[in-house]
Subunit: 390 residues, 2 copies
């Protein structure tokens, strides 16, 4: 198996980006990543684009093509990848495989989403379709907060997880977002703020939900040979990728206290990387809702099943704790531009592993120099787990 | 580089398929391909879905997930690929790479599209967006036949290609479709029929345009080791894949008499396969409009630039000619369910290379046992060229 490294990363400012079109938004991230890698756009042989809402959330149906032209990448092999909210990670795997297969030497994974051009009810309908449209969305009217509320109530009933535990996740992630200039939200919040916010789908309140965000992130990958040729200072190696999927209908799942696809994807990733969960220094997990972060702690093996709430209560997922999680603000507060999120996780992992987090106060301590990204599509419909190692 | 073979193929009936939903349509192809390969659905580790119109042409936003559940593939790694009309080939490359990279042993590429659920003007608008929405569709009102009409007039002006030459392509492809039970159109036509049909965008008339078709196709791939373990009778090896892309704006192209992305993609594919164009026994090319087939002859090197019309006039692309092309009816008459087309080309190549075309009269003579698929997205925005070898 050919070794592949991340050699360049870029991340646009996340937030309400009605100041730019989708091409310009992607350019912010692509330019950074190309300069960071020290390559030229024409060196990139294959590009995997992550975008879920092309032609729906924004007007371009072929963003891979229009963004390539705008960024000077025309001529490269192109594909747009979609795996709902795991879209960015699916693009990363695709860009990785194009090198690992021996087809290309330098590739890019570019995630982008512009979600704030349309009104919120329409955006919510599109997201709500990300289960089984015919059955669960159309017949039962389940929107996305409602899907995750089912998980939250199940977890509360079985393990005694509380509304306060959920609020603690929001408080932590807002704190780190306030230290991260690219984050959508720059404000700290308190447990009281979270608990007293508007109920969206009980027990989830406004502050338990990630925002609707515009953003882009870009990652340049290279083969081992190119890493040497380009004399890359600090290549960040892809140690392992795991993937799995869950049933379209939630009603066909065995239980609601975790995501089986995440358990399977993480096992595969650990096996490929030849590591155990306790060797991971820090992680970015898919906290689209606060309950999702608590389930992720458990699904990834950072604690036993049912003990996720204990981890957040004890502050073990803060910097200085056992396993820092989402110290960039996470989806919850950095924002969740759907197609970009997976690539933005790789951006954060790379910056941390290089120890060049711009804001030194956000640097996690590194022992094994291993970071993990956990990116879920739908409610465990897709899952990709990516492990990077310096 | 790990060797990868096609070990199973399936193709649904193409046409107006309002008798089934998108899951059922995909199932027709997936079931055939799994039975053909002699594997079980749970053996498939990774699935690349090709569908361009999810959530627009049909209601499911996450067809990869709903089709996986319906076909018993849940648990596999999933991604949906989009490369406009080259979507199926992009999915094939992705499924190929997942094995070639060493990540998986058995994967599937499944292409599906249901395009006839919505009214034709809306479908045409969606397809028309497959250029640069902001500039060329929105500002200049270019629809898809109009894009290819620009190519046709350029080719006619420069090389003397005539409306009759275009009609000959339609006549040939209808003839073969009439011999192919899965084809959308089952009727033969004459040059007079084609020339007297309604003008859509001069010089393109109704019979110069492919229809709007529902359909699915599925391909199962395996590593060399699995091919041995499963004792596959006639593995069809992936000899080479090439890819490239063109500018989003047609106005930025150097000329309109060919597609540069196709030239580049085919060069890459020939190089990977270590062959020259004259070693190809037969080809399936992207004839969304008749002019596209003539340009493909030239872009792929089956003749010199400007001599494509001569090839069709002389009958060289018929069975018995120098290089049989689209003897399944092509997009023009078998139909073009966008996300399925690339996988359906692989289906046809595999059947021909195994010499098990159901309709023996359609079997091409094989000398080198090499077939080529040329799949274009947009008007050369994407291109994938795939070479298979027995």
């Amino acid at each position: 198996m050919q070794k592949v490294a991340v050699i360049g990363v870029g991340n646009s400012k996340f937030g309400n980006r009605n100041d730019v079109n989708v091409q310009e938004l992607a350019f912010e991230a692509v330019k950074q990543s190309i300069e960071d890698a020290g390559v030229s756009p024409t060196d990139i042989e294959f590009v995997a684009f992550g975008s879920a809402g092309a032609g729906a959330w924004y007007e371009e149906s072929l963003p891979a093509v229009t963004i390539s032209e705008y960024c000077g990448l025309t001529g490269a092999g192109l594909v747009r990848c979609e795996a709902a909210c795991a879209t960015g990670s699916a693009a990363f795997f695709t860009a990785y495989s194009a090198i690992a297969s021996g087809y290309a030497e330098i590739t890019a994974a570019i995630g982008v989403e512009k979600m704030r051009q349309i009104d919120t009810p329409t955006a919510m309908e599109f997201i709500g379709r990300s289960g089984y449209y015919t059955w669960e969305f159309h017949n039962f009217g389940l929107t996305f907060p409602a899907y995750y509320a089912l998980h939250a109530t199940a977890h509360m009933a079985k393990y005694g997880t509380t509304e306060e535990d959920l609020a603690l996740v929001a408080v932590k992630n807002h704190k780190y977002a306030s230290m991260n200039p690219v984050a959508h939200f720059q404000n700290k919040i308190t447990v009281d703020d979270a608990l007293s916010s508007m109920v969206i789908a009980w027990p989830l309140k406004l502050y338990d939900c990630c925002p609707i965000t515009d953003g882009a992130a870009s990652v340049i990958l290279a083969s081992e040979e190119k890493v040497k040729e380009l004399k890359i200072d600090t290549p960040i190696w892809v140690a392992g990728i795991g993937y799995s999927s869950g049933t379209a209908n939630l009603s066909k799942r065995l239980d609601y206290v975790g995501l089986e696809a995440a358990v399977q994807a993480s096992r595969m990733a650990y096996k490929m990387a030849k590591i155990t969960p306790d060797q991971v220094d820090f992680a970015n997990v898919h906290d689209c809702f606060t309950i999702a972060e608590i389930m992720a702690y458990e699904d990834l093996g950072f604690c036993k099943k049912g003990e996720g709430a204990k981890l957040i209560r004890e502050g073990q997922t803060e910097i200085g704790g056992k396993i820092p999680v989402n110290v960039d603000g996470g989806l919850k507060a950095k924002g969740h531009p759907i197609g970009a999120t997976g690539c933005s996780m790789i951006y954060e992992l790379t910056k941390q592993l290089r120890e060049e987090a711009v804001e030194k106060s956000r640097q996690v301590p590194l022992k094994n120099y291993i970071g993990l990204a956990h990116n879920v599509g739908g409610t465990g419909h897709y899952c990709y787990v990516t492990i990077l190692r310096r």
